[in-house]
Amino acid sequence: MTMSPRALAASDGGVVRAAIACMLAGFGGFLLMGVLGLLMRLDQGGLLAMPPEWFYRIMTLHGSGMVASVLLAALGGLAAAVSETTRLSARTLWIALLIYLLGTGFVDLATLVGGFAGGWTVLHPLPFDGREWTLAAALQMYAGYLLVAVGLAVFCTHLLVATARTYGGVTKVLAWRFVLTGRRPEQPLPRPVELIAAVIAIDGIICALAGAIYLIPLFGLAAGMVGNVDALFAKNFVLLFGHTIANLSIYTAAGLVYATLPLYTNREWKTTWPVACAWNLIIVLMLANYSHHLYQDFAQPLALQLLGEIGSYAVGLPSFIVTIIGALTLMYGSRMRWTVTTILIALGLWGWVFGGLGALLDATIPINQVMHNTMWVPAHFHTYYLLGAAAFCWAYLYHVVTTLSHAPDSGISRAAAWLYGVGGAGFVLMFFIAGANSVPRRYAVHAPQWQVYPRIAVPFVLLLTASLAWLTWDVLRHLGPAWGSTREIASTE
């Protein structure tokens, strides 16, 4: 089914090009990081002999690169969706993209050339005391993070200012009066996607600030200007930064569902009170749940531990009740056709539910004490990443490219989209079963009795690879006409 380009035609062609570039850069990064993931599973299954120092380098790059890639793609998609009603600056988006990509380049070089292998959450003081890498490599890694944070801050600040300007202020784009009184204001409420953009922008700015607060003292320490950096402070802030970035990518990608699904179901997704309320709650809850990664740190204050548990449970409520139930309600009885976009959205909802449930279990303190260092953790985040956030992003990318190029999707493309689900499900299931059987995570060398899980996972990864190879080809062959079509958008303004 070919969708009408109605919505995108209202956008600025330059902004749509910048948004497509962000989505493509994110997609490219996702594919490359996926290859690294396959290498790691081959190694854990004993099918490939990789030196442990290289395993940890790759693990570090895979984690940081995947989060950065999916977030970039999601932000690009959000910019395209928001630009239908909000005037964005193409120049600012391109500058943010350049800074962001330079940051990811630093991370690539710090790991692949510099040998940095401390894990993507780089818990201080480990990075400064690496036996396999130099301080210069740690600093390059940190500088990469800082550049990503700056790129994110530029993107989010612009998004917040632009949406606030369109609706007459931050409180108006967040629909606070509506949330607090329940009465619809006279002037139109923002669409859900604009409200979500403002939420994402606020949390993105706070997240970038947390990154700077964490990273700048570490640069000071390396330069001899700071005597000591408290390890617990560093751990809290690296997770407030890193965990929030990961969460941000998921919620940004979820925002794309609000922009896409109404076009395929021919039903409006209104800014109802539950939608406005839920997304406003997410501003706080997204920042509050990182602490569930510190349950095993005895020095962490009890209040923060409890905040981690409560925040993790609470953040699930708006997601489940509003977005997932809302999306299913929109789809139910709509006679929506199954296209690549809708298949990936459906898979994304499925992955978000199961990944989220896995996360809720991990966020429960007694379970966490047993499960947190097992494969259960990669199981839950791979589920809501690969089958959740990433699926939403590729759904939107596919939607934009095929809409702009007026290209109908083929039966093979739809089969490839379903295959993405089959491959992804088999792949993450092996993580879950391994976690339930207490197989530890972050081990380069797996004992023979653990190797069965990655060995079963590998064929599913190959299915995923086949699916992505076709979808990549499909996107690339329609990219030229789609890109040209953005020039027509600009010329019709």
Binding site: A90, R91, W94, L98, A110, G114, G115, A137, Q140, A143
Partner: protein, 257 residues
């Protein structure tokens, strides 16, 4: 182990008459052309910022070569790298800010000349030449050769400056001078490619397990840095300023279109 020299030895300047003469000559020639163009084309006069930028660009060249930065370039790789940073990231684009308005108002090139300029300033060629020059001079053999010979050293600096004026040209020159890199996407790709190739080289230098350039292992130590630590610092000095300059360039050169 050679005992460190007093820190004061770091702060000496090096008078280089040929460099000073070349800088003054370039300034005089440029100012003459600038005045002539202002007088001859009252409708499209080159503005003051062009003269100011060119003058600062020349001053940066003088500073990089004759200040303690250049004066210590045979003792510390980090200082040598800083010297190169100033030449390629600061001086080269500033000189172009001055030269481009004059070129815009200059005589039209003849056909063969125009074709040659068109080929050389093609982004792929410009990026290829500037990258090749940067990488070639950082080969241990070439770098050590430059450190041993004043003439080769001067050639190294001149080639860096020339190659990087070429690098910046396609992205800084207006549409009347170059048809390339008119859109944001191509500009971002170009800037990313330029920043990435130098970042890869910088990382290879910073993270190399041994001292790459033999001259620095036998040079008198003027700081407490070991030759390897100096090399790591040099790599970082090549990495970070390059990225910052590319971000500043993006802020100036990207447009809302």
């Amino acid at each position: 182990m050679i005992a460190p020299l007093p820190v004061a030895s770091l702060w000496h300047w090096k008078w280089e008459a040929p460099v000073a003469i070349a800088i003054v000559a370039a300034q005089v020639a440029f100012t003459g052309m600038w005045i002539h163009r202002r007088a001859s084309s009252p409708d499209a006069r080159p503005r003051w910022p062009a003269l100011v930028a060119f003058t600062i660009g020349l001053a940066v060249i003088g500073l990089s070569i004759m200040s303690p930065i250049g004066a210590n370039d045979e003792l510390l790789l980090s200082m040598h790298m800083l010297e190169h940073d100033l030449l390629i990231w600061i001086a080269a684009p500033l000189l172009l800010v001055g030269v481009i308005p004059l070129r815009e108002r200059g005589r039209a090139l003849q056909a063969p000349e125009r074709s040659l300029v068109r080929v050389v300033t093609h982004p792929v060629v410009a990026l290829g030449i500037s990258s090749a020059v940067l990488w070639a001079w950082h080969l241990p053999w070439a770098y050590d050769r430059a450190l041993r010979s004043e003439t080769v050293h001067a050639l190294e600096h001149a080639s860096f400056l020339g190659a990087y004026m070429l690098y910046w040209w396609p992205i800084m020159a207006p549409a009347s001078l170059t048809p390339w890199l008119r859109g944001n996407a191509s500009r971002v790709v170009y800037l990313l490619a330029g920043a990435t190739q130098s970042a890869i080289l910088a990382s290879l230098i910073a993270f190399h397990a041994d001292v790459l350039y033999a001259t620095y292992t036998v040079a008198p130590r003027v700081t407490s840095l070991s030759p390897l630590a100096d090399q790591r610092l040099a790599g970082m000095l090549m990495l970070f300023p390059g990225v910052v300059v590319h971000i500043i360039a993006a802020i100036y050169l990207l447009k809302d279109k």
